[in-house]
């Protein structure tokens, strides 16, 4: 993602420092996804980016407005949340729906109620459930990894993700989960790099730290309770954190400032509920991963959360 190339076209592209920082934080994840799953993941990310930007351009140029760099972030987060074997055309449909229906119909940047990346992912998740949930591949590891290959062999039996193993009661090496040497979506596997990126955007204040912290807290507390109560298929809190896209979601999806809560207390509740809902959905629903649904659900509660918080504060001041 060399964004310097776009500088001469200042009117066409509106640079937003905050959004660019999120992009920088995602670059290591892009690299590791190529290393783990082959050059196909690069193709997936690039195609998604092109179509996402074109979709936004179709809407913004009608109104003589520039493309915002938020769309890069949307495209990156969206593509990093996809499984590596997903056909390209499905990825394209998802990003077009996500940007057009999730963001532009609400009025573009700053107006979207829902996280556009998750709207797009949700659309293809419901539309093509098999491709989205059942085609996982073993990553490359060692040497040049996937840098010299297009994609890992898909014809082999599809592997279960660590999340599925955990739900089935098998144990999963925490070290592998931490490094990222496991099957999964493009950007979610390496807990280490996600933490690194998350720490960077929070340090640079590109994301509200309360959202990420409260989301993690919600997940850890609820999964400790469930684990303590001994529900079957409920992994220990540490495995819950490291497996699947929990960290990725907490660092990059739940922290999206526009669709997230704005007030301080609102942010705590919002993040906490995302974490708690994710654990609940993982444990008791038919879906193996829950962060996407919990973010979308909580997005719809943001206006009422913020309103209530402001009302309570106002009445306290008045009293």
């Amino acid at each position: 993602m060399n964004l310097k190339g776009f500088r001469p076209l200042k009117k066409t592209f509106q640079m937003q420092k905050v959004m660019l920082r999120v992009c920088y934080a995602l670059i290591p994840l892009v690299c590791i996804s190529i290393y783990l799953f082959g050059l196909r993941s690069l193709a997936l990310i690039l195609v998604t980016a092109v179509f996402g930007i074109v979709t936004e351009a179709l809407f913004t140029f009608r109104r003589d407005k520039p493309i915002t760099s938020a769309v890069f972030v949307t495209c990156l987060i969206y593509s990093l949340s996809l499984p590596p074997t997903l056909p390209l055309w499905m990825a394209i449909i998802g990003i077009v729906v996500g940007v057009a229906m999730g963001k532009m119909v609400f009025g573009g940047f700053g107006q979207n109620v829902f996280n556009p990346a998750m709207v797009g992912r949700c659309f293809i998740y419901i539309t093509f459930p098999i491709e989205m949930t059942n085609r996982w591949i073993e990553p490359f590891w060692g040497g040049v990894g996937g840098l010299s290959a297009w994609s890992a062999p898909v014809d082999a039996i599809t592997r279960a993700t660590p999340m599925m193993d955990l739900a089935a009661g098998l144990s999963v090496s925490l070290q592998k989960l931490f490094v990222g040497n496991v099957p999964g979506s493009l950007g979610e596997t390496s807990a280490f790099l996600v933490l690194l990126g998350g720490a960077y955007i929070i340090y640079k204040k590109a994301a509200p730290w309360r959202l990420a912290t409260s989301c993690l807290l919600g997940g850890v507390i609820l999964s400790s309770i469930f684990y303590g109560m001994g529900f079957s298929g409920m992994p220990s809190p540490i495995s819950t954190l490291l497996s699947g896209s929990f960290l990725f979601g907490a660092a990059f999806v739940a922290t999206e400032p526009i669709s997230g809560a704005k007030t301080k207390s609102g942010q705590w509740i919002y993040g906490f509920m995302i974490g708690a809902l994710t654990v609940t959905l993982r444990g008791f629903s038919n879906f193996s991963e829950g962060i996407m649904f919990s973010v979308l659900l909580m997005n719809s509660f943001v206006p009422i959360l913020d309103r209530t918080v402001r009302q309570v504060q106002a009445s306290k001041k008045a009293a």
């Binding site: 119909v105 659309f123 419901i126 539309t127 093509f128 459930p129």
Partner: protein, 197 residues
């Protein structure tokens, strides 16, 4: 008189086509457009009820007291919904089963009550009949259009006949409930674009 009847008829087909222009009667529009078959039958049943209730309400407009008119309209409408329901049970049982609860729910379709209140209770029988027919056909066309889009994209079939080859991957989303809202929204958008002059 003749001219205005024609006008009343044609406005239901385009200028005031119920779901897309008046945005009325959305419950059946969202619920029964999973397939073309249920869409068409719902449209026909609604048209039947709409025409009959318009005519009867128009005939009785001088008898019905103002204060209880809504209740009277509902009684008239409910009668014809029951008639339509029994007819459909007798002649199209499989479709009746598919429509389920939405068949009796025609009673509360706001188009029918809306037309009775806004037009039939004030105008003559001829005009009311033309209005009911126009609105009904417009409603049927809208259901047909929406159901075609949803069934073709969401299931790869049209009137339960496959239209694409084996390799077609249906967009399950479109026949789910959110797909109904999304496709209705897109249709409204297209209608607004077309109507913008």
């Amino acid at each position: 008189m003749a001219k205005s009847a024609v006008q009343e008829f044609t406005k239901g087909l385009w200028a005031e086509i119920p779901p897309f222009r008046l945005v009325l009667g959305l419950c059946p529009v969202l619920a029964v457009t999973k397939g073309v078959e249920t869409g068409i039958f719902m449209g026909i049943a609604t048209t039947f009820v709409l025409v009959c209730s318009n005519v009867i309400v128009s005939l009785l407009r001088k008898v019905i007291p103002k204060g209880v008119r809504i209740a009277c309209f509902i009684v008239v409408i409910a009668t014809f919904v029951t008639v339509a329901e029994l007819l459909m049970q007798a002649f199209a049982y499989s479709v009746f089963m598919k429509l389920g609860i939405f068949m009796p729910l025609i009673v509360v379709n706001c188009i029918i009550l809306g037309r009775a209140e806004a037009l039939a209770s004030k105008k003559g029988v001829g005009v009311s009949f033309a209005d009911g027919l126009g609105m009904g056909i417009g409603f049927t066309l809208s259901l047909f259009a929406l159901a075609s889009i949803r069934e073709i994209i969401g299931n790869g079939t049209f009137y339960e006949i496959p239209v694409f080859g084996e390799s077609f991957q249906p967009f399950t989303f479109m026949i789910e409930a959110p797909g109904a809202f999304v496709s209705l929204g897109l249709m409204l958008c297209i209608m607004n674009l077309l109507g913008k002059k």
